[in-house]
Amino acid sequence: MTPVLSAHGVRFGYGDRDILLGVSVDLLPGEVTILLGPNGAGKSTLIRILSGILAPREGEVLLCGRPPGEFRRREMARLLSVVGQDPPVDFPMTVAAYVGLGRFPHQGFFGGTSPEDREQVERAMERTELAGLRDRTLSEISAGERQRAAVARAIAQGARVMLLDEPTAFLDIRHRVAFYEIVTQLSATSGIAALVASHDLTLCAEYGERIVLLSGGTVAAQGRPEEVLTPSNVRAAYGVEVARDRNPATGALRVTPLRGMPAKPRGAS
């Protein structure tokens, strides 16, 4: 299968310091790839490079076989959507209107709202269980619901690739679980290639199909959770000791951190 979005040998840094020292990653349709890595490893930077906001110093990024710079803005937005960490809070816009913004790449400035647009917005809200909140404003709903609205907007955008940058960073377990449920279902049913940058080792182990571990500026490991989340990998990346076993209820890999002051991770500055 050809990757929808791929990066080869990407180097990038701010100022003199290079953060990414040659990163290669492929995103396949219908697959949820989880991007793991400690703070400062460059997950957000990589996502920005993948979405075309930043240009790599070396290496290339290909979206459907072409570099992002070649696309016109709206064309690119029809292919790729991004969900960030913090959707706007004091935004006096209703949930329905906010999700509706996601249709912009299909409407442009002058296009009206077509039945297709409305349908996509409805479906996006249903998938994220927001239909009941459609008329509430963003400032009225909870943080978890706001995050779901951001995901809904990205879904409504109808893109083939979805990049999600630590979207559950400030959310409680309920919303984290809901989030991963939504994304995995979405990917499975719509064939969307999703990349989720995350910190959450436990949920990654449970939900991840493919994990890319970013550490020290390169991809330290990638593959299935069993292959990537080894104690030595985790120790090298995070400096934390973990124990591994199988979750008796689900059968998925379970990774639990052990007590003790963490060591300095490899490649940390």
Binding site: V82, G84, P92, A97, L101, P105, Q107, R136, T137
Partner: protein
């Protein structure tokens, strides 16, 4: 008060009716008595007596000017608040007022009366130049950020204010009252000719902003998010900046610096129609127009000491009204 009634189409007809009512009230108010009959004759039969002339060349132009200026300032305010992602932004924040004042005062204070027909042109030129300067100063390779825009606006504004102070000190004393009243805003400067010249600028500016509505909605998400949602962010920012400055600059050139309208009317309009710009921009225009025309009518009759500066009335009367409006909405805006 959420959802439901905001979507109702009733808001716009009501606002339009309010504007119409304000215009009629303004045209009906003044020291020269004009009977209804005389008004009809003037408009439909082209009579040329004093009543007709007062109505057609003093009152109607003044009322229409108020509508154009109020609507333009409100629309410009909406645009700047979206562009800067800041609810405290107003049309003057990025250099327009200082530049316009320097242009206008140069004519008002230092040139002879023969040059006074050129005052609006000079004010407009001043406004455009200073807005452009702020934009260019704030621009970086990565584009224009709201924070830098505000910073440069403040710096340029402070500089121009100092220039204005200097000008007033050096001016011949007989010209200072006129300059002061211009600075406070004065719809009495509207002649039929000026209104006619202003109209295309306001029409062009408001239509352009309306076309940018979706872009303004997306800008509120933040530059990155807007970019990723498919917006050509820098182009939209530039277009918004230039259009909003053009709008503000053109009305300030004719009527002086009328404050408060561009800051508060956008918030009032949001309470009425929500913050989607497709509805917000027209609503703000209508609300701003009606508000300013009413304020001007009040300014003309409120005080036994003669006409009050309209900018004072907009703030004095408007602030409590809008406070009420915002509180009713739970302070959300």
């Amino acid at each position: 008060m959420t959802g439901g009634w905001k979507k109702s189409g009733a808001v716009f007809p009501i606002l339009a009716a309010a504007l119409l009512g304000a215009l009629v009230l303004s045209a009906a108010t003044g020291p020269v008595p004009i009977s209804l009959r005389a008004a009809f004759d003037a408009i439909f039969r082209g009579t040329d007596d004093t009543s007709a002339r007062v109505l057609l060349s003093l009152r109607l132009p003044r009322a229409l000017l108020g509508a154009l200026v109020g609507g333009a300032l409100a629309s410009s305010g909406v645009a700047f608040q979206a562009l800067l992602r800041n609810p405290l932004a107003d049309p003057y924040i990025l250099g327009v007022s200082g530049g316009a004042a320097v242009g206008a005062l140069t004519v008002a204070l230092f040139l002879s009366a023969a040059a006074s027909p050129f005052l609006p042109l000079c004010a407009f030129a001043g406004a455009s130049l200073s807005a452009l300067a702020v934009f260019l100063l704030a621009r970086r390779r990565s584009g224009v950020s709201p924070e830098r825009l505000i910073l440069m606006g403040v710096v340029v504004g402070a500089f121009l204010n100092a220039v204005i102070m200097l000008m007033v000190t050096l001016a011949p004393p007989g010209k200072i009252p006129g300059a002061l009243y211009w600075l406070m805003g004065d719809l009495g400067l509207g002649t039929p000719h000026r209104v006619a010249v202003l109209f295309p600028y306001v029409a062009l500016g408001t239509v352009l902003l309306y076309l940018l509505s979706r872009g303004l909605d997306l800008l509120l998400l933040g530059d990155h998010a807007a970019f990723q949602a498919g917006l050509s962010v820098e182009r939209v920012k530039t277009a918004t900046y230039l259009t909003a400055s053009l709008l503000a600059g053109s009305v300030v050139a004719v009527s002086g610096l009328i404050g408060f309208v561009g800051l508060i009317v956008p918030h009032g309009a949001r309470v009425l129609v929500g913050s989607g710009h497709r509805r917000l921009l027209p609503a703000a225009f209508l609300l701003g127009a009606a508000f300013l025309v009413l304020s001007d009518t009040l300014a003309r009759v409120a005080s036994p000491a003669g006409e009050l500066p309209v900018g004072a009335v907009t703030a004095l009367a408007g602030a409590p009204f809008f406070l009420y409006l915002l509180r009713r909405n739970g302070g959300r805006s």
